[in-house]
């Protein structure tokens, strides 16, 4: 084979190979779904659907009611959203609109550092520092509560919320701000009446992605929420231990016999988590495509 046709062949092969990797990404997502279904699907034959939606989770005696776990995840995530969303948005507005240049240069890498702190380290600090404070200040019988989980998750959602929201604010054309200022609006009025409304779809995406991350967080939540599978029904539940879906999987999968009903149910819970986060990300992705944006900062 001469040199030229070799180049052509190599070119062809490399291009095929690179194009194939694109399909690989979709394959991985499909595989995740398939294997969750493969290991978890048996649940729906072994446990009557009515029994799954009961209020008692006690697998040792074949009670597989997942309601306390679902509500546990919901309560902790709602708390996390209540903490992380306002804090993240205000901080994003500060970084994008108010902070001087040098401060932005310091704050942005700092937010990246927060994203890099392993969740197990946050959980460790939550156990040793945050939960004793909750016990002392709020008079909860134990500090390992839903509130502690919400605090941890709220902070863990912050990097996503701040960086995506800040990008959205950055993308608002400067002419909008100039026009508002020229009409005599203050800087503050410009931010809330012009810039933030103009960036609202990006800000919404930021909130959704942040909350989506919070639903799926595992280690920190497992370490600080006390893991009691009880129904959190009143506002006081924030000062009680709860157990989330993620924590249940992480805590119990190591001890179950492979192929048992308990094992299948844990995979089914994983499947449910996968579908919920899939839906959240699908909506977020759709709004990103609609804005014609690339997704670079979303994921880092």
């Amino acid at each position: 084979m001469n040199r030229r046709s070799w180049t052509v062949l190599a070119e062809y092969l490399v291009e095929r190979l690179i194009r194939a990797t694109g399909i690989l990404v979709m394959l991985f997502l499909a595989l995740i779904f398939l294997f969750l279904l493969r290991e978890g699907g048996a649940t729906f034959f072994e446990v009557p659907l009515g029994d799954l939606f009961r209020t008692r989770w006690y697998p040792n005696e074949q009670y597989f009611g997942i309601l306390p776990l679902v509500l546990g995840s919901l309560v902790v995530t709602l708390g996390a959203a209540a903490i992380g969303v306002p804090l993240g948005l205000l901080a994003a507005v500060f970084i994008a609109e108010v902070a001087p240049r040098w401060m932005r240069e310091v704050l942005k890498p700092f937010i990246e550092v927060l994203a890099g702190i392993p969740s197990v380290v946050l959980g460790f600090m939550g156990m040793l520092v945050v939960s004793p404070l909750i016990r002392q200040w709020l008079g909860a019988p134990t500090g390992l509560t839903a509130l502690a989980g919400s605090l941890m998750l709220g902070y863990m959602a912050l990097p996503t919320i701040i960086s995506v929201a800040e990008d959205a604010l950055d993308a608002v054309p400067k002419s909008y701000r100039d026009a508002a200022l020229a009409l005599g609006a203050t800087h503050w009025q410009t931010i809330w009446r012009v810039t933030v409304p103009a960036a609202r779809s990006g800000i919404l995406t930021a909130m959704m992605l942040g909350v989506g991350r919070a639903i799926g967080e595992t280690m920190a939540v497992m370490m600080v929420t006390g893991n009691a599978a009880r129904m959190p029904l009143t506002l006081r539940s924030f000062l009680m231990p709860v157990r989330t879906m993620t924590a249940t999987i992480a805590a119990e999968m190591g001890e179950v016999a492979q192929g048992s009903t308990h094992y299948h149910v844990l995979f089914a819970i994983g499947l449910a988590l996968f579908l919920v986060t899939f839906l959240v990300n699908l909506i977020a992705a759709w709004s990103i495509f609609r804005q014609g944006k690339r997704y670079g900062r979303l994921l880092s």
Partner: protein
């Protein structure tokens, strides 16, 4: 005047929120540094755990985390960079490419513990790798892909279009252009993305719970089919599962893990800023 006052109050609120975001992180890192520093010694980092982990060092966990990070890199880097090249250089904006982007965003959103379940189902059970470094690395690699792809694609896209046009006009093929011109130019950005992705992998616990992590294994792994200890899981174990654990060792382990992860963060930041200074376009 009241408008000015309101603005003053508003800006104060914004700065206070930012302080509420930043301060706890600083305190947390500082606190771990202060509490953990006394535990750190050469013997702690390079010694084997003794006395049911209540004494001795964390060496097997350090080695395990290094091996897992390396394994993740071996699987995730070629695939991730290839997908990024495809999206930045070959793909047009078609329905198919949008599906791929959709898949990437969704992969990034899959909960880490679900990755653990997936790894257990596919690698440990179906492919019979057992709980092993191989199974753990593959699981972490798939989890890391979205970060590597998205940051690498951004880096490739920042290379000016004129570079491609000039190179192609000299008679090179598209792949030659990518390999000799675009990739070298985008390399620091791609590296930054790789480091950030591996940093996440190194700090994760949930995906390795059922795929590789050993509770207590005071020796070094000898093959890729061995289980291994890993720093994040080790910290989890000694802070929740071992009664009577000395706090000093817990903080020491947290500090080793945090140093490992944050030094990768610093490395990424340095790579990026050096690149910005040297770049001529």
């Amino acid at each position: 005047m009241s408008r000015k006052l309101r603005q003053q109050l508003g800006f104060t609120l914004l700065s206070l929120s930012t302080i509420v975001v930043v301060l706890p992180i600083l305190l947390l890192v500082g606190y771990i540094l202060v509490q953990g520093a006394p535990a750190i010694s050469w013997e702690f980092v390079t010694g084997l755990p003794r006395d049911g982990m209540r004494a001795g060092g964390v060496w097997p966990a350090v080695v395990g985390t290094l091996l897992l990070t390396l394994g993740t890199a071996i699987f995730a880097v070629p695939v991730g960079v290839a997908v990024a090249i495809y999206l930045a250089e070959y793909a047009r904006d078609t329905f198919f490419t949008r599906l791929i982007r959709l898949a990437i965003i969704n992969l990034a959103g899959v909960p880490s513990v679900v990755y653990g379940l997936f790894g257990l189902g596919l690698f440990v059970i179906f492919l019979r790798f057992g709980t092993s470094i191989l199974a753990g690395s593959l699981t972490l690699a798939i989890m890391t892909l979205p970060v590597i792809i998205s940051t690498s694609e951004e880096a490739l896209r920042t290379v000016p279009q004129s570079f491609r046009i000039v190179s192609l006009s000299l008679g090179t093929t598209q792949w030659q252009t990518i390999r000799r011109v675009i990739l070298p130019q985008a390399l620091p950005g791609v590296l930054t993305g790789i480091i950030l992705g591996l940093e996440r992998a190194a700090g994760e616990t949930a995906p390795i719970l059922f795929t590789v992590a050993a509770f207590f294994l005071p020796r070094l792994p000898s093959s890729i089919f061995d289980q291994t200890m890993a720093l994040p899981y080790h910290l989890f174990v000694i802070s929740t599962q071992v009664p009577g654990m000395p706090v000093r060792i817990q903080y020491g382990t947290a500090l080793v893990l945090l140093t490992f992860v944050l030094s990768m963060n610093v490395l990424a930041a340095v790579t990026r800023s050096r690149f910005r200074r040297k770049r001529q376009w």
